[in-house]
């Protein structure tokens, strides 16, 4: 399988502080890759380098064999950690802007997303909650026919119902054969989604493994993460716990939501049916 991302000996510093220190890895195409690590470990800097937002770094970075530049950016749809939408814009304005700037943007799909997310086209960005803005940004990202989707903390700062809706949208709208690189420190919520895990700590890669291999060792991804990061208080699960569905399992999360908030659950299921 070809490599969608290749990084060799990457260094990035802010003043005297080195946030990425000789990072090297190569990720296979067509996978959902979890970029995992605590806050401040260099995840966002790495994603910014991949998307062309940071230019002063040392090392070699390629996307699908292309150096970071105009051609590599054509392949990438990026969901940043913070909103890039101007406050005066409406949801419709932002969709039309994306449609005019990206040739692979699907306008009709975007309006269908808005409907599913219960966002009205004329709603202004400044009147949207954090969760609503996140859904709009997700719409703008997922309605592109990209080769690689890069998402920085897509579930950060949103309520559980919105988290499930976002997760559902990511999974059910990913074009066939495309790859995803999702940065998060909320492993619990996305554990069942990842095919591959790339763990970073203090600017260095500490794990680069297929999730199946981790599970074959009898560990969940969250447990493996805790082990790798030496998080105190980590208690290995019992065999029964290990063989049960992973804690981040989407079905389990949906069931929990159904019991706690039936209305939100019904909306998500309706949205899923519409998207399918």
């Amino acid at each position: 399988m070809s490599k969608i991302i290749t990084v060799k000996n990457l260094h990035k510093s802010y003043g005297k502080k080195e946030v990425l220190s000789g990072v090297s890895f190569a990720l296979e195409d067509g996978q959902i890759i979890g970029l995992l690590g605590p806050n401040g470990c260099g995840k966002t800097s790495l994603l910014k380098i991949l998307t062309g937002l940071i230019h002063d770094y040392k090392g070699e970075v390629q996307i699908d064999g292309l150096p970071i530049g105009v051609e590599s950016k054509k392949l990438v749809a990026y969901l940043p950690e913070r909103s890039y939408l101007a406050n005066w814009m409406s949801a419709k304005d932002s969709i039309e802007t994306a449609a005019s700037l990206f040739t692979d943007f699907n306008r009709d799909k975007a309006y269908a997303f808005l409907k599913d997310f219960e966002l009205t086209p004329l709603m202004k960005v400044k009147s949207m909650s954090k969760g609503m803005q996140e859904k709009l940004l997700l719409t703008l990202t997922m309605c592109r026919e990209a080769r690689l989707y890069i998402m920085d903390e897509p579930l950060g700062g949103v309520d559980p119902a919105a988290r499930i809706a976002i997760k559902q949208t990511i999974l059910s709208n990913r074009p066939k054969g495309s790859a995803m690189l999702i940065s998060t420190h909320q492993i619990h919520d996305l554990e069942d989604v990842f095919d591959h895990a790339l763990m970073i700590r203090d600017g260095k890669v500490i794990a680069d493994e297929h999730v199946d291999k981790i599970r074959a060792k009898g560990k969940s991804l969250e447990e493996y993460y805790c082990e790798k990061h030496g998080i105190p208080g980590f208690v290995p699960k019992t065999h029964a716990q290990q063989t049960a569905a992973p804690s981040g399992d989407l079905a389990a999360q949906l069931e929990a939501l159904r019991q706690s908030d039936p209305e939100a659950y019904a909306k998500i299921m309706q949205s899923q049916n519409n998207q399918q």
């Binding site: 998307t51 937002l53 940071i54 105009v70 101007a86 005019s100 700037l101």
Partner: protein, 280 residues
């Protein structure tokens, strides 16, 4: 490029329209007050219009600077720099639209100022303002022929365009340099400092070269050409006026200097955008 320009116009129009709308409202109030003969409203709206006419270009420059900074190095930079275009293309679109707004504001400012003065003076017989406007019109009428008038207008428009371009490109370069790693922590402070460092020498040199360097464009009713003499004008204001009956003369060394500075700084800004800047 066309798509970027279209999008840039759309996103900047939002802030620019506010200023133009304020001017239109003030004009409307003045007309209303004059018609209804409401003295106090007439005086206030007249003052607001004159103030807006003077401040319009300044406010436009401030809006352009804020838009440039926010759309590239603020939160909106996450979209701008992720677009599959080169830094130079992005910069070209922003510069084109910025110059366009500056031109629009400049002409609205001139138009509003003279229009308002004429309108108000029309109600006062032999007012000083009216005589001044009549003198100004008479000056333009005294041009040797229509062709000279048109070429003079175009040449002055080019001079004005270059002044605006140099001003903007200097500021764009200053903001971009302030957003490279070394200066990024205090980018606003460095941006302002760099703006003064680059803008003042560029404009002073450009204007002085225009007035004093022995290279001028001369146009008369019978001939047109470049001469190796300075513009020889007593005051800078005269650069915009015909000097005597034989035609019009404008120093071009300053214009060539401003073209070179603009091209050089645009190149350097694009280089920094492609290689050295970080979006926070």
């Amino acid at each position: 490029m066309f798509r970027l320009i279209k999008n840039e116009i759309k996103s900047t129009a939002h802030s620019m329209m506010g200023i133009y709308l304020a001017t239109i409202i003030a004009i409307g109030l003045l007309v209303l007050a004059q018609t209804a003969k409401i003295g106090w409203l007439s005086a206030i709206s007249f003052l607001v219009i004159i103030l807006l006419a003077f401040l319009l270009v300044f406010i436009t420059i401030m809006c352009i600077i804020m838009n440039f900074s926010r759309s590239l190095y603020g939160a909106e930079g996450y979209l701008s720099f992720a677009l599959p275009v080169k830094g130079g293309t992005l910069l070209g679109a922003k510069t084109t639209v910025s110059v366009l707004w500056l031109f629009v504001s400049f002409f609205i400012s001139i138009g509003v100022f003279f229009g308002t003065m004429t309108y108000v003076s029309a109600n006062m017989e032999n007012s000083e303002e009216l005589l001044l406007i009549k003198d100004l019109v008479a000056t333009f009428v005294s041009f040797p022929n229509k062709g000279v008038l048109v070429v003079t207008g175009l040449f002055n428009a080019l001079f004005l365009f270059l002044l605006m371009l140099v001003l903007l490109v200097d500021i764009f370069f200053a903001i971009t340099l302030a957003n490279t790693r070394q200066f990024q922590n205090q980018n606003v402070l460095w941006g302002i400092l760099f703006s003064f460092i680059f803008v003042i020498p560029s404009l002073v040199l450009g204007i002085n070269l225009t007035n004093r360097a022995p290279l001028s464009f001369m146009l008369t009713a019978k001939s047109v050409g470049i001469i190796s003499e300075a513009m020889t004008v007593p005051k800078e204001l005269s650069a915009y006026m015909p000097q005597d009956n034989w035609g019009f003369r404008l120093g071009i060394a300053g214009m060539l200097f401003m073209m070179a500075v603009s091209a050089g700084l645009l190149y350097l800004t694009a280089f920094l955008m492609n290689r050295k800047t970080n979006v926070k």
